[in-house]
Assembly symmetry: C2
Homo-oligomer: 210 residues x 2
DNA sequence: TTATTTTTGTTGCAAGTGCAACATTAATGA
DNA sequence: TCATTAATGTTGCACTTGCAACAAAAATAA
């Protein structure tokens, strides 16, 4: 029911007590529905319980840009330091979202102290996790050539999967988006890496030879 | 004395009470001294009171990479979600750094409740701010051409400075680092933008013509 | 199973970029 | 003030990359 990071280490019964104390609501949204129409103006705190949602910007010419993809367990809302006034949150699929006043999270009552403390701890960790994920992506995007981007990405993956036989966790097409390079140019570079003996790969299965 | 974001909105006397309650220490470090030798293992919370510090990685070949630059008011420590075991914090100049147990921040006692609440709020905001800064940088780095990176960056700057006559807040050389492109190629592109009438610039002073 | 869609793989070519090397201007320190 | 260093500006050239267009293989749906 509540098995996601912000509630880690809190008994389900305590989660329920907390949410009751916070006057939390669980709202359901259909795909493409607007969850929040001005991110910088809200005084609420949101947790995605089920489904997915995107933070999007509507550009002056009507096109929309996905600023951030969020999924089950992700949080957003009043704490977000953005000044930008044109950010929306849109459900990317049918979703259930928990909402309560941000103040309730911050201003602690005398009840459920332990659980409340743990929740704050988890929220901080959640943000820090995302920060380190972003940091890693920046490290990769900062590499100048496609080859170097690939190698740095493979390096991180290898560290996480604790093996030199890594499996790319999404399609090669998505990988080219992640690295922000042309897919065909990336494929060409993967071929080069194979020919140069730095890797031995077949599709998304890659053996690091260094 | 304590005029930085994490203490915003908290009376100086209350800040002092809090820090006393937390058994906080103020440590001084000389330039290049090691502040923290295993970021993922600490149980402390750090606030830079004066000076600057970098999070660095020592690569297998002995070279070091600056992962993140931090300055007065920035925070780091136990909440950082990184699993990486080779990250150090090094003082980039002579610095004073406030340290206390992370648990003290999370587990609230009955004292100084108001101030403590506000501190947590500020820490959340601080992390969210950084998140939005990182997000913006990723947005820029994701653009394919130098021209598009420049235009996106100029766009953000224009929004922040609320004018089309923007001033780049660091050297053009640093800008090329920030955009992760070759400096001379960037200069060439700036010239092209001028010739195409999209901007009118002289050094770091830029007028947006769109 | 067969049909359809998605993903992977490949190539030529034009355009964009990094690199190296140097000239000019601005900023800094003695 | 002059000397020195840092920052800005410029160019040719080789290499890398994006783009377009297509083929083959794999995954998914009917």
């Amino acid at each position: 029911m509540f098995d996601f990071p912000v509630f880690d280490g809190i008994e389900e019964s305590d989660v329920k007590k907390l949410l009751t104390e916070f006057n939390a609501l669980t709202l359901t949204f259909r795909k493409d529905a607007t969850v929040l129409s001005n991110v910088s103006n809200t005084d609420s705190f949101f947790i995605i319980q089920e489904g997915k949602a995107n933070i999007v910007r509507y550009n002056f010419n009507g096109t929309k840009t996905i600023m951030e993809k969020m999924e089950k367990g992700d949080i957003f809302g009043a704490f977000s330091g953005t000044i930008e006034d044109d950010l929306y949150v849109i459900a990317a699929e049918d979703s259930k979202i928990i909402v309560f006043e941000y103040k309730r999270l911050i201003n602690r009552s005398g009840k459920n102290v332990e659980a409340h403390n743990k929740l704050i701890d988890n929220v901080l960790n959640k943000l820090a996790d995302k920060l380190s994920y972003f940091n890693e992506r920046i490290e990769i995007l900062t590499e100048k050539t496609i080859r170097d981007k690939l190698l740095k990405y493979f390096g991180y993956l290898s560290k996480k999967q604790i093996t030199k036989s890594i499996i790319i966790p999404f399609t090669l097409s998505d990988l080219s988006d992640y690295l922000a390079v042309d897919r065909s140019a990336m494929m060409r570079e993967i071929k080069n890496l194979n020919e140069d003996g730095l890797i031995a790969s077949k599709g998304r299965y890659i053996n690091l030879k260094y």
